[in-house]
Symmetry: C2
Subunit: 479 residues, 2 copies
């Protein structure tokens, strides 16, 4: 007999008909007259309640119905007598697919710490919290593709293995098939990469931007959405060695177009999640409220999760230059009272505390900062006429600080190569990138958004390792 | 002044209004009375014709308008006097963004070989052929996400860097941050991976399937769509070292459900491309026809590109077992006449010539073969009761042979571990995979589709390096 996912079953609720459901037991509760089983199949955070009369199921079957066991149940869908659910399934037949020995199955119906669940990342998608996160992650990923497709962008798969190391975005992982113990050496004792698989030294990409620009200067508007890598030995709640990045690049876009796109994009995907993940977000909102209660009053967030999401989609982002922001920060109360951990003055890179002050205290709106000092930004950003700043933009969010970073790109070949030489990058290593400025150069712009940062923001989770199925971090590559 | 992508402009064609277009010059043609410029912005395969009166543009501007140059042109959209286009732009103003020196720009308006274009992969998206391929690739990728989203699947990002090497799907790339010349060694002279970034030896994934199964046994239906890697030193038109794979996994699906899904899925995404990429497909159809003309009569394809795509979406796929297929092949004319290059008998792995005979000659329909001998299939496939075959399925297409490979998965812990031991895989190395059979096991199934194989089929191209933006192959990692 064919079966319906529980999500559809609860939505259509064909009361009075015979249905089959399949899923995993969340809880079993026995009363004098009946057995109540909460079954979940991962399609939704909501369980379906299955009811058997006392004595209806053989003792050996009942014994196998424990938390985590997998079963199919057939019966009539009826209006529920109890509180908490509209419908329930009156069991006629049950088939156990796979039991879950209660003495060994690690996921029992009690509160598990996130740390513990990280150690059993192969099973944690079976919990309410992680299934909600993964469904929201899916919805956000789909919203990203839908947004760009609806707006005339083409998805471009930039390479994962790359021989270019010009971006300078961070330390890289080497990709090789050479003998690990005794690699072939050149005469001067260096590893002879000409014998490696690709005939040269190769690494995992840190960004698809440079190749993305090649695409934009041919197809007009492109976006990437793929894995990127950083071999930084930092064990924090905000860093992963492997994470997914979204990088749109647009020919004929200048800085203001770029800002308009970034604002519209991030609002649209968050709105999509609010529309499509109401149940999962409500669950995580409550989860966060409970967590907040355990904190000291002054550390509690002023906004609930849903309030924070509404805050972003319902406010126009404030736009100002870095220089204007520095003025505000220098004259702010925390600066005058020495409450910032890092000092602030023109030329410094802003810290999260500064970004959050602007968003949460000063403007009480999301903020886009532009025209940063060239010294603290990448070589490919378009230089302003003043010779001091570049057409960069950072989008700042409450709680999280920078969520998007981008810029108009330098389209003048001479300025670009001069800047590369200043920062010590040999233009020859990315001759192909420079060809786009040599032949048919055009004003263009783009930005990058770390996908896990977005999922972190939308789910309200505190550790980035909890918003990707199988996190990769120093000493962490299990599963 | 804001501008319209050429695709939108040609669609809406607001005749009589002033518009701005931006793009790259494809060709310039001068007659006695006028200059005609074909401009393309990558949004569509169609150019817009721009017309200037003779003498209207300054000589120095005209000189810069060469193939590959980038410009913005403003003027009135009018009905075209000439043949070949419905509308054209009567130029009022032109701005050159970036010239393209005709003596140096490699893409001139003539036929370039695919081999040559592969060497300038950073510029080839500016050609008709490659921009068409990349737009179709985008449409197919979006269709994949849309199909699974519409059908209740969740997108699961399985890890790219992995410590598991149990799949045995092929040779792997090592990922490391150890010193390449002098790696730390253990006492017995082996590389000491405990000092590597992840504290163990890690590789690039060859498949997300095993982690995908973890997801399916929690969320019900998931799919992956990400890069996978093979370090095989094979320089063919069908292999890449880095390619994108689509792998759905479904709890509660058995072999027949898996076949139904695969057939519906591949038909739906091809139908989507036919609906959304008509112009690009028409261009590639003609391209292929021209190419076919250069071949000997007997090597020419019986179907045009569009006929082949219609063939797939309009036929029910024939389903038969491997054993039945062997019967047909053994009694076939080519077998009796000794025309197959590889001999065929029960137990052998089918070659492309056999698969194509079944599809193109015998059934004249796409074919799904099932229940292959266990010895030629992977350890995780569900064993049939006969002890000889497994619940595998391969979907075979004309011209290309196998396009999808999948199976129902072995959900019995004892059978699975016994089979692993038979083929020499230590169950301990993937304890987490076996946990899904230990706790709440369920019937489940899934399949894999190499995305570039699909793009190859839909675009009618002959070399897989031409359907991915920046191909990675032995000695090939430029850009």
């Amino acid at each position: 007999m064919s079966y319906l996912p529980i999500q559809q079953l609860l939505k259509t609720a064909p009361i009075g008909t015979d249905v089959t459901v399949k899923g995993w037991v969340r809880t079993k509760r026995e009363s004098k007259n009946a057995v109540f089983i909460a079954l979940n199949d991962g399609s939704t955070i909501n369980n379906i309640q299955i009811v058997a009369e006392a004595g209806q199921l053989p003792e050996e079957t009942l014994k196998l119905i424990t938390t985590g066991a997998c079963l199919a149940a057939t019966g009539q869908l009826v209006e529920s007598q109890g509180a908490g659910q509209a419908v329930e399934l009156k069991i006629a037949h049950v088939q156990i697919y796979g039991p879950a020995d209660p003495d060994k199955y690690p996921l029992q119906p009690k509160r598990h710490s996130l740390e513990f669940l990280r150690e059993i990342a192969h099973l944690r998608p079976r919990t309410n919290t992680f299934s909600a996160i993964l469904r929201i992650r899916h919805a956000l990923a789909f919203a990203v593709h839908k947004y760009f497709n609806d707006n005339g962008f083409y998805y471009l798969n930039t390479p994962i293995i790359t021989a270019s190391d010009a971006e300078g975005a961070g330390e890289m992982f080497r990709v090789t098939t050479l003998d690990a113990t005794r690699p072939p050496l050149t005469e001067d004792g260096q590893v002879d990469y000409s014998q490696d698989f690709f005939g040269r030294e190769t690494n995992l990409t840190v960004s698809g931007q440079l190749e993305g620009e090649l695409g934009a200067l041919a197809l007009g508007k492109i976006y990437t959405f793929g894995p990127t890598f950083r071999a930084e030995n930092s064990n924090t709640t905000r860093h992963l060695a492997e994470f997914w990045m979204i990088e749109p690049e647009m020919a004929f876009y200048e800085l203001e177009d770029n800002m308009n796109l970034a604002e519209d994009f991030v609002k649209t995907v968050i709105r999509y999640a609010l529309q499509h993940c109401a149940d999962d977000l409500a669950f995580l909102e409550n989860r966060l409220k409970e967590e907040e209660k355990t904190k000291k009053k002054e550390e509690q967030s002023e906004m609930s999760l849903l309030e924070k999401l509404q805050f972003v989609i319902s406010n126009e982002f404030v736009r100002l230059t870095y220089t204007e922001a520095i003025d505000i920060l220098v004259n702010s109360k925390p600066a005058r009272k020495g409450q910032f951990q890092y000092e602030v003055s023109w030329g410094v890179d802003l810290q999260s505390e500064h970004e959050r002050y602007l968003v949460e205290k000063h403007f009480k709106k999301p903020v886009i900062l532009t025209n940063y000092p060239r010294e603290i930004k990448a070589f490919y950003m378009k230089q302003d006429e003043d010779g001091k700043t570049v057409r960069a933009m950072d989008v700042l969010f409450p709680g999280i600080g920078e969520i998007i970073g981008g810029s108009q790109r330098e389209d003048d070949l001479d300025k670009l190569t001069a800047r590369m030489q200043e920062v010590g990058i040999d233009p020859e290593t990315i001759w192909w990138y420079l060809d786009t400025r040599r032949f048919g150069s055009a004003p263009h712009a783009g930005f990058g958004l770390g996908f896990e940062r977005l999922v972190l923001f939308v789910t309200g989770m505190g550790n980035i390792r909890d918003v990707i199925p199988f996190p990769r971090a120093p000493k962490q590559a299990e599963f």
